[in-house]
Symmetry: C2
Subunit: 498 residues, 2 copies
């Protein structure tokens, strides 16, 4: 984020002076609070003097004074007589930062005389705190020979991949046309997405899709809604663009759109997981979908729909994609991935974008890394075109359905004293909700150190929550491994509540 | 770039009020001029009123007035009585923009009611103006079966790639350790780079390396030196980070470091191609290297060394990398790629970074796209480890040396009336310098439309130049194809000067 605003801390404050906007001091307080929560502002960062900030923002000194006082009262700031105002070291409980600060490995690189920028330090924290899951039970994704695309893939790869240098020049940033064609057909057929190949942009997976969205749709200083709870790496991606992420609560119907409109009426974009909320698992209701699309059309905001595991629906009829419900075809960017159904090492996914944005996405992709491997794109295109992908998805769904039943049954059998599995018909994980008094982090931490990949739910929330629970992945593990893992959890819970 | 500064145009002005800094009006003029040249400010953008900008920057009105008057005199701005100050539609000749504005394809997407941001429009221009070269003579890179890594690659790919899902979880953003190990060994041995595997970050090629550098080293509002002329996509990559790129002239010894220190003494980074200046081809002299390293150490600035085709040295002894000459090991980020020697579809390259920056690069990579395909990394690691890469490079070098001789001989034979080949001992292209009065663009444009990939040299320059010439790639073509292409150029030149 630019420091050119001249503040002591790298936050940019944008004031809306329209008559219907919140008071200026509320806006200042809100943006500072969001900056603290998102981790852009950190403990011991000094805020500019009241007079200096007031001058810069062209507001009265009392306006800034009121905002600071509010945040001091809330515990976000503290003040030292004569010395200024600082971000508090101990933040209020609701201010869990997106990427939790860590005594960075950088400090170990002592002897370095050259100071790192604040920005570089925060990028370093991303890599030292957002570690990939170990490939042990009950990780969400893990290697499993039975789930591999198998011989059909190998044969096509041999046929197409034997001379990868045939695709020897630089390729199209938007993606290899034959792959865009089969992706468009697939998304239309199975997810009701409005599209043709011209609107498909091939990515190297959902993460790049998210980054491209942040780059094309948002600028530093903008505000965006994210779900609370949400995927930590996604929120970090947006925050590192210099965007203020406003956490909007989800309930049983998904994103609370009304709450979003109250918290950040002028957000430029909403990042959502409507078919399978991450991490909780519910589907966004039709009423909420209509409300969200209405908001986006009215305010000319964007919706980013991350449809990360839509192939894995076990029961009931799926809703079509949110993108497919958008009559204007102008509001929604739909993100899909092949990492989950094929294998992460493939590094291929896609974005389906409103037509006026296609060139901008292609330009952002060109600047990012030119394009995806054309030989890999050619292999995948042929695999889909010959029908192997559909067969593969059906086979995996059957296999995962069985593993999912084993996991749910084991939870009911071994863990019923501590909570229950949340209803959810889709994906590669379920959420076991604990009774409110059980500390999910305290139980999960020693188990993770002991070699079990158990993710506690509460850290995914930015706001204070009574939700406690675990994410339990079942995709990569045999029934025996799943049973054993649940037993380990049961033992730990028994010890914890004892 | 953030628009939060409240200006009518998206430029951020950062003033250095130190006593040794240039005058404030010079700083304002310089930053506006750079913004216009880089394409961030565009024809008909309106500048803020003098009073408003003076208030915002906390300077006297005469300071802004002086800066505007200077730029009006230079032809960058014009003013309409009572209406304000605007970027001129016809810019002075020296202000060639980095990515030339084009009637974007977006305007064709009429019917769209939703306005695109300025930022999205510029990303779109990147994809509509910076098109990849067609794979026809005399493109710099083109498919060629003889230059492929061949059977050794296929065998290892079969062995390692048969079950790519073995690498099924998410990998390390920094890269697959066995590949980092062989890359470090290779860079130490052949390029004298100070490194071990801990300092290697695997990228998906030079372009991603450049983007990661821009993200880690620079922030919006910073200034960076680029060579003039330079690789257009590289300059666009930095400019899209919101950084002002200051073009620094090159002469026969490479980058003119003294000129850089005069033009932008407070630049945060210098992007250079010391072993084979792109596009002109000269090597940076030892004196200039020492001067550049001294500047970086003194000012705590970064040097990004793009060593994009160092394997292809035909005559004379190469200098070691600039990185290897940096006693502090703290100033230089070294970028290498496998696209050029293997095939672009491989999408693998590397950055070797100062130790304190490793985590920041890994974090930026995680946010960008997580990591490169582990199965591809494993295949390449084995290919290098077994010694095939060295053998491949030697073979390609011999093959290209012959093609290069054919091209140079044909230029001497058929084009001697129009200019001469610039001295250059490295790479996949040579530069044919035309006599100054011949218009390289006028000759190249119809030939490109006619199916010959001929790049004129003058558009690579930002500043006014008398240099006219062509980039001639010889890597992908048979001697017969090279002869025929030179003949076509000779005919076109004869017609042009007639």
């Amino acid at each position: 984020m630019s420091r050119t605003s001249g503040l002591d801390v790298p936050v940019e404050i944008v004031l809306n002076r329209a008559r219907e906007a919140p008071t200026l001091s509320d806006q200042i307080a809100h943006q500072l609070r969001a900056g603290i929560k998102s981790g852009v502002l950190r403990a011991d960062d000094r805020l500019p003097a009241i007079r200096a900030l007031a001058t810069r923002l062209s507001v009265a000194r009392t306006t800034v004074d009121t905002a600071y006082a509010q945040l001091i009262a809330e515990g976000y700031l503290h003040t030292r007589a004569g010395a200024g105002t600082w971000i508090a070291q101990t933040l209020p409980e609701s201010a869990t930062v997106v990427a939790s600060p860590l005594g960075s490995a950088l400090n170990a690189a002592a002897g370095s005389s050259r100071p790192l920028s604040e920005h570089a330090r925060r990028l370093a924290e991303v890599s030292t705190t957002l570690l990939p899951q170990k490939q042990v039970p009950l990780a969400i994704i893990a290697p499993s020979e039975e789930m591999s695309p198998g011989r059909a893939w190998t044969q096509i790869a041999n046929r197409f991949g034997r001379r990868p240098w045939r695709h020897a020049g630089y390729g199209e940033p938007q993606g290899y046309l034959p792959l865009r064609e089969v992706v468009a057909e697939y998304a239309r057929k199975f997810r009701g997405v409005h599209c043709d190949a011209d609107r498909v942009v091939i990515t190297s997976g959902s993460q790049q899709g998210m980054t491209l969205c942040a780059q094309v749709l948002l600028e530093a200083g903008d505000t965006a809604w994210v779900e609370d709870p949400c995927y930590t790496l996604m929120a970090a991606t947006i925050a590192h663009r210099g965007v203020l992420t406003v956490p909007v609560p989800v309930d049983a119907e998904g994103l609370d759109v009304t709450a979003g409109m109250t918290l950040a009426p002028h957000a430029k974009a909403a990042f959502v997981t409507p078919s399978h909320q991450f991490p909780l698992g519910m589907m966004m209701s039709m009423a909420r979908r209509a409300e969200l699309l209405g908001w986006a059309a009215r305010t000319e905001s964007w919706i980013v729909e991350d449809d990360y595991d839509s192939e894995l629906r076990y029961e009931g009829r799926p809703f079509p994609s949110l993108q497919g419900m958008d009559a204007s075809s102008e509001s929604v960017i739909y993100l899909g991935t092949f990492s989950k159904m094929m294998f992460p090492s493939l590094r291929l996914g896609y974005a389906i974008v409103p037509r006026p944005l296609v060139e901008a996405f292609a330009g952002a992709r060109l600047l990012a890394d030119r394009h995806s491997s054309e030989s890999q794109q050619a292999i995948l295109a042929e695999y889909i075109r010959e029908g192997h992908y559909e067969i593969h998805v059906r086979r995996i769904r059957g296999l995962l359905q069985k593993r999912r039943q084993v996991l749910i049954r084991e939870c009911e059998r071994q863990l019923h004293a501590y909570g229950a599995v949340l209803p959810c018909d889709q994906g590669m994980h379920v959420v076991f909700r604990l009774h409110d008094h059980i500390d999910d982090v305290a139980v999960a931490t020693p188990l993770r150190q002991g070699g079990l990949e158990l993710r506690a739910i509460s850290p995914f929330y930015v706001r204070n929550t009574t939700m406690r629970g675990f994410m339990l992945g079942f995709g990569g593990f045999t029934p025996e491994a799943i049973k054993a893992a649940v037993k380990t959890i049961a033992r730990a819970l028994a010890q914890h509540v004892a």
